[in-house]
Amino acid sequence: MPPPASRLWPVAMMALALAVAGCGGPPPQFALNIEGRRPQSVSPKQREAVEKALRKLFGTPDEPEVAEETHLRAELLAMAAGPVGGDAEGNQRGLFRRHCVTCHGISGDGAGPTAAVLDPYPRDFRLGLFKYTSTRGGAKPVRRDLRRTLLRGLPGTAMPSFAQLRSGEIEALIEYVKYLSLRGQTEFYLVELVVDGDEPLPLTMEFVVRDGLTPLARSWAAPEENAAEWVVVPPPRPSVATPESLAESVALGRALYAAKPSQCVKCHGPDGSGQGEETELYDDANKRKKGVTPEQTAEIAPRFRLPIQRLRPRDFRQGVFHGGAAPEDLYLRITLGIKGTPMPGAGAAPGVRAVLSPEETWHLVSFIRALGAGAEASPSP
C-alpha cells in the first residue's frame, strides 16, 4: 500500500532543499591551460604563480578586470561577462554565457559541453588565431572581422549568426572574445615562462605586464591603428558582366587552379572535391595532438580535452564556404589564407612575394564559384 501523501511531503521538501542547496555551487573559474603537458610537469607552486598573475591582470569570469595596457572597455566586458541576467528595459548581462559558452567553454578554449559533437570544433580563443579575417598573415583580426563573423555566422558550421542581437550586445561579445583571447595568450606566455623558462618565483607583475601583456595587447591594436599596412581590401573585380567575359575569367582561373605555384590541387584535388593528395591536414589546435606514430598520438590524447580532428579541405563543387561565398570573401581567403590552418595565402605579405596577382586571384574566384555552380574542373574536350 502506498504511503499517505502527508508522509511524502516532508521527504519531498527535504529532497528539494538538498537539491537547491547543492545546485548553487561556487562561481565558475578559468581553468589553467596546461593542455598538451603532463599535469605533473607543472608544480603546484608554478600553477599558483600563473593563476595569481592571471587573476590580477584579468579577474574572474564573474568579475573581469582589465589592465590599462589591454585597451579593453570595461563597460562592454561587464555586459558580456558573469551570470545571465537582464533588466526591465531588456538590457542584457552575461551575454557570453547566454550565447557562446556551451560551445566555446567558460575559458574560451573551444571545448564547451557541445564541442565534441561539432565538426569543425569551436574556436579556441586562447590561441589568438581567427580563421576568417581581412588582415595579413600573423596579424590579429580587426573588430570588423569579428563583427562580420558574429552577424553572418559561419555557413555550414554550428557557428550561428547573431544578427538578432542588438548592436551593443554584438560589440560586448567582440570585446569579451578579445578579452578571452588576450587572457589566453598571456596564459600561454606565463606557463612557458614559468614552466619551460624556469622563471624564479614569485613573478613580478611589472615584468609580466612589460614583457608579456603589453606586446600582446599591441598586436591586437596594431591592425586597427594601421589599417593601411595590415588590412586587405579587395580591389575592384574585373568585369564579368557578359557570359563571354565570365567564361574567359573562369578559363583563366581553371588554368591557375591547376598550375603548380597556386598549390590548390594538392589539398582540394584536381576536380575541386576537397580530395587532394594531402589528407593529413590539421589546424594549429589539433596539430599539437598529432604524434609521430599512431601510438604516440594515442598516448598524448588524454592531455587534451578534445580528440584530434582532421581538417576537411573545402569541396568547391558544393558551393558552401564557411567564411562566406561572396566573391570578396573568396578573394580574401585566397589572398590571405585561413589563419591557423594549412590553407596558405597567395597574396603578398611583408617580406613575401605574391603567388597570385590581384587580377589572377579574381580569375581563380570566378573558377571556384563556377565549380559551385556545376562547372567541371577540367575543360570539356
Partner: protein, 335 residues
C-alpha cells in the same frame, strides 16, 4: 439516489456525482500545455533570467506588472507570461481539487487531484528557485518535472471522463494486459528521452564534452528502440484488439506523435548545430546558416519539447485505457 461507497482505487469506475471535475481537468490540461510551450520557449530563447526576482516581477506583484512593460521586451514577455499562465494553472488546479473532493467519491482520484496541485505548486517553486538562485540545474529539473505534472493532469482527464465512468462488464483480455505493459515500457522510455533532452538543453558550465556526446548518443539510440516499441504497440493493437477502437486510436496517435517528434528532433538539431558532417558526406552539403533566436530555431525546438510531453501523455493514456478496457466487454459503447 443511493450514495456511492468511498473507493481508494483511482481506476475505479464508480459514477461520480458531478461532471464539473472532468470539465475542469480539461481546462487545466488546456492551460498546462501552453504553459509547457511557453516554458520551452523561455529555454529556447535563454530568457529564464529575464526577470531577476520572484515571486514578484521587477518588484511588482505578479498580477500587477504593467501591461506596457510586459509587452515591451520579448524575453520579459516570455518569462512573465510563463509565470502568469503558471499562476492560472495553479488557480484552476485548486478549483479542480475542490470539485473532486466535493463531486467525486473515489478517494484515489481525489488524492491524485491533490498530487496534481502539489505538482503544480512544486513546479512554481522550482521555477522561482531557479530564478532566485540563477541555478541552471534547477532549470533542468523544472523542465524534467513539467511533463510529469502534465501527464498527471491528462490522467485526471481520463479518470473523470464519462467513458471511464461507464460500468464495465468483466471480460479478461490478455491482449489488453500485454498492451498496457508494453505501453508502460514506452511511457518510461519516452520520459527517459525527456530527461536526456533536458540534459542536452541545459548543459552545465563545467560539463565535459564527453558527457554531452554520450547524452546525444543515448537520445538517438533510445529513439531507435522506442520506434520499435511504438510500432509494436500499434501492430499488437491492430492484430489483437481491433474491436477496441479507443485503444487502436490511441496507438495510432502515439505512433503519429512519435514520428512527428523524431522529425522535430532532427530539425531542432539542424537549426542549432547545422547539418551533420555524415549527412553532407552522404548527400552533399546544404548551405545553411544557424541563426540564434531565429524563428525557425525557436518554433522547431519548442515544438520538440512540447510534443515530447504529448508523446508521454499519449503513452500513459494507452496504459490507462488498456487497464480499463481489459476489464470491459467489446460490446461496451465506448467512443
Amino acid at each position: 439516489m443511493k450514495p456511492l461507497a468511498v473507493s481508494n482505487d483511482p481506476t475505479s469506475t464508480e459514477v461520480p456525482r458531478s461532471r464539473l471535475p472532468h470539465r475542469l481537468a480539461w481546462v487545466l490540461a488546456c492551460v498546462t500545455f501552453p504553459l509547457i510551450c511557453v516554458g520551452g520557449s523561455v529555454t529556447t530563447y535563454r530568457a529564464g533570467m529575464a526577470v531577476p526576482d520572484w515571486p514578484n516581477t521587477f518588484g511588482y506583484n505578479l498580477f500587477l506588472y504593467p501591461l506596457s512593460s510586459w509587452l515591451a521586451v520579448w524575453d520579459v514577455f516570455l518569462e512573465h507570461g510563463h509565470r502568469l499562465i503558471g499562476a492560472t494553472a495553479g488557480l484552476v488546479t485548486i478549483a479542480l481539487v475542490l470539485a473532486l473532493w466535493r463531486g467525486d467519491r473515489r478517494r484515489g482520484v481525489c488524492w491524485l487531484g491533490a498530487l496534481a496541485l502539489a505538482g503544480v505548486c512544486s513546479q512554481g517553486l522550482l521555477g522561482g528557485l531557479r530564478v532566485t538562485g540563477n541555478a541552471l540545474f534547477l532549470a533542468m529539473v523544472h523542465g524534467c518535472t513539467a511533463p510529469l505534472v502534465f501527464v498527471l493532469i491528462t490522467t485526471l482527464v481520463a479518470l473523470t471522463s464519462p467513458a471511464w465512468r461507464r460500468p464495465a462488464r468483466p471480460a479478461v483480455r490478455p491482449g489488453a494486459q500485454a498492451l498496457g505493459t508494453i505501453a508502460l515500457v514506452a511511457a518510461s522510455g519516452i520520459y527517459l528521452q525527456i530527461v536526456l533532452g533536458a540534459q542536452l538543453r541545459h548543459p552545465g558550465l563545467g560539463t565535459a564534452p564527453g558527457w554531452f556526446t554520450l547524452w546525444v548518443w543515448l537520445h538517438v539510440i533510445l529513439a531507435g528502440i522506442l520506434a520499435v516499441v511504438v510500432f509494436g504497440l500499434l501492430r499488437l493493437t491492430a492484430r489483437r484488439l481491433r474491436d477496441r477502437p479507443m485503444l487502436l486510436r490511441r496507438s495510432r496517435w502515439l505512433l503519429g506523435l512519435f514520428v512527428l517528434q523524431v522529425v522535430l528532433g532532427a530539425a531542432a538539431w539542424i537549426t542549432h548545430y547545422n547539418w551533420p558532417v555524415w549527412f553532407s558526406d552522404l548527400f552533399g552539403k546544404i548551405e545553411y546558416t544557424v541563426v540564434t533566436g531565429g524563428r525557425l530555431q525557436a518554433v522547431l525546438t519548442t515544438a520538440h519539447v512540447a510534443v515530447g510531453s504529448l508523446n508521454l501523455a499519449a503513452a500513459v493514456s494507452l496504459v490507462l485505457w488498456s487497464k480499463r478496457l481489459a476489464r470491459a466487454s467489446p460490446e461496451s459503447s465506448f467512443p
